[in-house]
């Protein structure tokens, strides 16, 4: 068996792939956080809970309606996104005039409620969600076997991230959005309905989280607490990348996933903490984050 730096190639590429998968989730989630933060100035602590909800909606669709993975990929983000819109309309919009920290506290409370309710209903052990039939099996690449589903997750999340980047940076809608991030009052004065844009942006960010949840469901099990610890890592990713740039959060997300995967190969004890260590180093060297700017 061939080895790289004394590590079997099989294990190395295996962990690299897992790193890429985790990186996909970091990228989608931190992208959602960045989009929401850009316009609402709120850090959405409920992002992890909404990611979990996405996975659960997929599970419900399969159990109750018999709708499989592909439908879930479409319906779950819409359902959870609508849920997000309701939250924004009823609660978050009351906080825009206040200190930003209240948004964090409110969404933290919402995360506790959502996770608590799901835990009451479904316990803390995971519920299995099977792979879609079209994506079972894998490709033998010679040096490793690439499971089809995992390849799909990476491709799909890259596609979603690039799509989001394109919409925000290259389209007219995106230019409204960026303008409203800079100066909402002025954009409103030009006759654009900024409150509605804010609502839809929050819904979109939440939908991204739900999409990540559906993608994650077949890999990790569907678990009420699947987003609880993940969101803290995503916060670290966001601090490292800085929320100033869309591309920045995507690149940082994937890169950190890969670094985490490699750490699992070479120094497994540190694999849980490596992202936090990187965050500390980045804060020392470039406090605004790799792609961020001081605000």
């Amino acid at each position: 068996m061939s080895t790289v730096f004394g590590v079997p190639t099989q294990a190395l590429f295996g962990q690299l792939l897992i790193g890429l998968i985790n990186g996909s989730f970091y990228a989608i989630l931190s992208l959602g956080l960045a989009v929401i933060f850009g316009l609402l100035n709120i850090i959405n602590f409920a992002h992890g809970a909404q990611y979990m909800m996405g996975a659960f909606v997929a599970y419900f669709l399969l159990q109750w309606a018999g709708l499989g993975y592909w439908w879930a990929l479409l319906i779950a983000p819409i359902v959870v996104g609508l849920f997000g819109i309701v939250l924004e309309r009823t609660m978050l919009k009351r906080l825009y005039q206040l200190d930003h920290l209240y948004g964090l506290l409110l969404t933290f409370g919402l995360a506790l409620i959502i996770q608590g309710l799901f835990r009451n209903q479904f316990g803390s052990s995971g519920l299995p969600y099977s792979l879609p039939a079209q994506l079972t099996g894998g490709q033998n690449l010679g040096f490793m076997v690439l499971p089809n589903y995992r390849a799909w997750v990476v491709v799909c999340s890259l596609f979603v991230c690039l799509g989001t980047w394109y919409v925000i940076e290259q389209t007219k809608l995106g230019s409204y959005l960026r303008a409203a991030t800079e100066n909402p009052a002025l954009v409103q004065a030009f006759g654009i309905n900024v409150p509605r844009m804010i609502t839809l942006t929050y819904g979109f960010g939440v939908a991204l989280a739900a999409l990540a949840g559906v993608l994650a469901a077949p890999i990790y099990q569907v678990n009420p607490l699947m987003g609880a610890d993940l969101i803290i890592v995503v916060f670290a990713v966001v601090v490292i990348g800085g929320m100033g740039s869309i591309m920045g959060s995507v690149v940082t997300g994937f890169a950190l996933g890969v670094i985490e995967g490699l750490t699992k190969v070479f120094y497994p004890e540190a694999s849980n903490t490596v992202i936090f260590v990187i965050m500390a180093l980045v804060l020392l060297v470039k406090p605004a984050g790799l792609f961020g700017r001081e605000r």
Binding site: H100, L104, L105, A111, L112, I113, I232, F235, V239, L284
Partner: protein
Amino acid sequence: MAVAKESAAPALAPNLPETPRHQYLAFVVMVAFFVVAPFLVYPLFLMKALCFALFACAFNLLIGYVGLLSFGHAAYLGSAGYLAAHAAKEWGWPPEMAILTGTATAAVLGLIVGALAIRRQGIYFAMITLALAQMIYFFCLQTPFTHGEDGIQAVPRGMLLGILDLRQTMTMYFVVLAVFLGGFLLIYRTIHSPFGQVLKAIRENEPRAVSLGYTADQYKLIAFVLSATLSGLAGATKALVFQLASLTDVHWTMSGEVVLMTLLGGLGTVFGPVVGAVIVVTLENYLAQLGAWVTVVQGIIFVICVLTFRRGVVGELGNILKKPL
């Protein structure tokens, strides 16, 4: 320019003028309550409330008077508990040395985390403290001396200064009360000192404080270390009271709980964190059998507080009485 706009946002608590007389009265009422209470209520429960009250007061020093939301305060509570428990059990140190060891641990951690976290402001500060606390949690989970999921159990309480037998519940209770009052008065003294005034100035408008020649970062760091140290004092004491140091105290849910206590009691009020801690601990006591419903109730309180009750219990009371408490 952008920085000025950020800091000019409405602060978390109104700046209150100093009128000490009724605060003395409130202090006397509080002390009287805690002196009489152990004869009426289960002392172990009260000791838990006192430890959390000190923890919440220490947390409030940051959020209420410097405007910094630390979302990782469990790290200081928990790691101080571990070190105190380890010193008392494995090294056989007397309780005063065990508590000092734990408190010093929290101070050092606070210095490191604080120095990193104050490099960013506002929401980033909260995320950084949370992430670094999670790192400390994973460290506690993996390192052997904490005994993982079991925690450090059967920690001996020992003889305080060789004279006070802490195995006696009432002796332990009054030692905990003394620790709490010491921490409480230190915080009270701090926020009413010139140093505390500068902290409030930084909270209200950091660029202006800097332009007046105050090194805001140093002030913030000192406040952070003080807050972490007192949280550590609370954690070390708690470890001796319950003779246990466990992962619960380092987990982020604990960081959330201290935010809840302070928010419910009243951010930036002197007595709010104490009231909030007593309410939350009581609530958890009654809801303990209900499992995950505790989380749901906590979440609901968070949402209600943020949406309609931002002054908290003591803040509202002070508003009705027209006197800051």
